[in-house]
């Protein structure tokens, strides 16, 4: 009789999209209906009576299935807001990149600052928009599911792992840029060229640590 109930629920879900949500709802429904059926039989109903009573109790399932198909209009509003935010972050970053070149020209030509100091300031200005861009794209999901199907879920997973690789590379490049900036800055200000190279060894250690964190978080998934 369990199978008869299960078949009936499967038939009800024929129209529903093949998604994780739908299969979870189906599992939930089957488990609860089976328990109800068992209770009715335990209370002295015949299996036929119990089955009919359980099926009659389901009601109009179309509403539920419609709920699985459509995303709420709320999502579209959210998407519009996030698109505006992306535009703002990208244009601010491009502006800062252009500004960093201006900083370089002003430092060397107008203020007549030392070359190394100018380059340090230039690199420092570059790190701000780079961090801004990376933070922004890290904070939002990169792949928007069009439908809630298994294929889309796979695509999302695929996209996320590619995105992780890119994230790792950008963190690395930021770190090395910063190391170079600190190296030049410290050496120039304190004149400790003889010792300051040690920062590159520290940089290599940091890179290994970042690598370790990424592979650990991959394994967790």
């Amino acid at each position: 009789m369990d199978d008869k109930l299960r078949d009936r629920v499967e038939a009800l879900f024929e129209e529903a999209p093949q998604t994780k949500k739908a299969s979870e709802l189906k599992e939930e429904l089957i488990s609860n209906l089976t328990e109800k059926y068992n209770d009715l039989v335990a209370n002295g109903r015949t299996s036929e009576e119990a089955y009919n009573s359980v099926i009659a109790g389901i009601g109009d399932i179309d509403e539920l299935i419609r709920g699985l198909k459509h995303s709420s209009p709320f999502d579209q509003e959210k998407e519009l807001i996030s698109r505006k935010k992306t535009a703002l972050v990208v244009s601010a970053s491009v502006g800062l990149y252009i500004f960093s070149v201006i900083v370089l020209i002003v430092c060397t030509e107008l203020l007549r600052l030392d070359d190394i100091l100018s380059i340090v300031l230039f690199l420092f200005t570059i790190t701000i928009p780079t961090c801004l861009l990376i933070y922004h794209f890290m904070a939002q999901p990169s792949y928007k599911k069009e439908e809630d199907t298994l294929v889309e879920e796979f695509k999302e997973w695929n996209q996320n792992s590619k995105y992780k690789k890119e994230l790792y590379q950008s963190i690395n490049s930021i770190m090395w840029t910063l190391v170079t900036v600190i190296y030049l800055l410290v050496s120039f200000i304190f004149g400790i060229w003889a010792f300051s190279w040690i920062i590159f060894i520290i940089g290599a250690v940091l890179q290994q640590i970042i690598h370790l964190i990424f592979s650990l978080s991959n394994r967790k998934e």
Binding site: G57, I58, L64
Partner: protein, 106 residues
């Protein structure tokens, strides 16, 4: 009875929240307790119950998790969130107010 059902249906979500205020629960248990409390006079249709669960989840009033039953099928349990508790209190207050006014009117 059908008009009564319609009146009650508008409060399905508050009824579910009221049940979850005391403990985490799953679909059939909630429906059974509704039947028991009303001396078998009222029972939710499964479709109504699960639509309400989805709406409550989307509003952030409840969360769901799968139980680890050793025998039989897995159950999906629901638990109430702090927002859910607040919504329950608000809805209950609204209902008391409406009941007081309707009692005066009819």
């Amino acid at each position: 009875m059908s008009i009564t059902s319609d009146l009650i249906r508008g409060h399905t979500e508050t009824i579910i929240l009221a049940h979850l205020m005391t403990k985490d629960s799953y679909g059939y248990e909630i429906n059974k307790s509704i039947q028991d409390k009303t001396d078998n006079q009222y029972e939710l249709k499964e479709a109504t119950l699960y639509s309400a669960f989805r709406r409550l989840e989307q509003s952030g009033y409840i969360l769901s998790y799968w139980g680890d039953e050793t025998t039989g099928a897995r159950r999906r349990y629901y638990t109430i969130t702090p927002q859910g508790r607040k919504a329950y209190e608000d809805n209950k207050r609204d209902w008391e107010e409406a009941k007081r006014l309707i009692d005066k009117l009819i």
